[in-house]
Symmetry: C2
């Protein structure tokens, strides 16, 4: 008998991922705080549950895709949460970008109740979610990973078991650190070139051939040059992810000085009302911190 699948959290990402699972023929029980988003999936055969607890009661594997750690903690371990309804031998898979220490704590709590838990955050954005081409980084036990793998392979293209409890979240925040710092690196170079009177597109072209080559230059170079800040990855989400990285750094004792600085810069963008801009808008902060006509 195929496993019954539950899905809690139907934002832009979650709705697309759940849609792909339905299309692949999985019976789905869905829940969303704003109920209308769950009801939109009934036309594809989904059943709507009244609470995360009910999702877990009706499912063998319950997936969550939520905004961040506080929502994950509430939906998994809070009142009316998944753990209240989860049967022994069932599995919870959190695909949100969340806190590594929280992922470890929830996995421990779940296991004490005979429930398995994986942390399985994704990268690839809403396009990857719609097309089923996400990269999925999975932490947890091998057996649980193998059990959930058929679902991951519907939602993602690159599916890797990166380690034990919390390892998926650790790798995801590492990814977010590197992406943020790449954006800042390219932005500082472009601002200097521009202020020094050198065509920034020459910089993008020249740097693409050597040790400075990177995916941000390739994917966002043109957008940076034309000041196109339509997201893509939003400032507010990337700020949240760096906040998770810094909290993990404090928990595990890792020094992250530049991550801390760039997190503050994302905070400044939020303060300027640019939460919804693409994360490459770090460039605008540098431009506004620069002096016009210094030379």
């Amino acid at each position: 008998m195929p496993e019954r699948v539950g899905f809690a959290g139907l934002g832009i990402m979650g709705a697309a991922m759940a849609g792909n699972l339905l299309e692949a023929g999985h019976d789905l029980v869905v829940h969303n705080r704003t109920r209308i988003k769950a009801e939109q999936l009934t036309q594809y055969g989904a059943l709507v549950a009244d609470s995360p607890r009910e999702v877990a009661e009706l499912s063998d594997i319950s997936i969550t895709m939520l905004p961040g750690p506080s929502e994950v903690e509430e939906v998994v371990a809070g009142e009316g949460g998944l753990l209240e309804g989860a049967k022994e031998g069932s599995l919870i898979v959190d695909m949100s970008t969340s806190s590594p220490p929280l992922a470890r704590e929830l996995a421990r709590t779940a296991r004490e109740r005979g429930v398995g838990m994986l942390d399985a955050p994704v990268s690839g954005g809403d396009v990857g979610a719609r097309n089923g081409t996400l990269s999925i980084m999975v932490g947890g036990e091998e057996d649980d990973f193998e059990r959930a793998r058929p679902l991951f392979e519907v939602m993602g293209e690159t599916v890797v078991h990166v380690g034990g409890d919390g390892a998926g979240q650790v790798v995801k925040v590492c990814n977010q650190i590197v992406v943020a710092l790449l954006i800042e690196a390219v932005a500082e170079a472009l601002v200097l070139a521009s202020k020094a009177g050198v065509a920034p597109d020459r910089v993008v072209g020249m740097l693409s051939g050597g040790l400075a080559a990177n995916k941000i230059l390739e994917v966002k170079g043109e957008k940076l040059l034309s000041h196109d800040f339509i997201p893509g990855g939003k400032v507010e989400y990337h700020r949240k992810d760096l906040g998770i990285a810094l909290a993990a750094g404090r928990e595990y004792g890792a020094a992250l000085p530049v991550t801390a600085l760039v997190e503050q810069m994302f905070g400044a963008l939020v303060a300027k009302g640019r939460s919804d801009w693409d994360h490459s808008a770090l460039l605008t902060l540098l431009e506004e911190g620069s002096v016009d006509g210094a030379r």
Copy 2:
């Protein structure tokens, strides 16, 4: 009649570049502060000059490859320097990594005396210098660029005229900014992973596929994992280059907050006696700033 070529500054880079020009059949007049290094090239047909001035007196095109801005200023515009000996209609090509404002000032001074000047810094390191595969970023006038191009094509593989006076130096410091910040980005990610108990090689593997992909991860990932800090690019040179970037930022009014922080970190490595380590040794600073066994 082929142009007579002069070459001042025969360090590891300069000696290799001059050697390639000799091998390509150019008559070379060479000078080096430590004379023995110049004399080593006489076996390949080079003539040794007693001063930069004498290099310029005997050459149509004089090339410099020096440690930094202060040496460039001295050798080009100081007492006994190239400009004292340079004939009207001759050309000076500075291939050192130097200061953009200085490059502009020297080009202006040279032109007032009827002498052309290009700034043409390189990337690709000693390996690129030996193999004639350097990337050469050239600033200055189009005619002067075309005149020097046959020499550039002996020394380099990618030769690009990136703009007017100083533009080569601007693009070079932009390159050095991005490379330094990429190293720091990868290092912060690896330290967090390691402290959080996740195998850092999983991080390197996972990040190589997405928006975080970059050349440092590809070229230096293994070395970072094995703590191999044999240079490659040395800490002291990269620190110097970031110093040039920050000075240019002040001159042209560009805000470079993360470059400033990473320059300080390179300074801390110098203070710890690691000037000669590979620039990826930024990792060691993070490790030593991290707490053992926080969890």
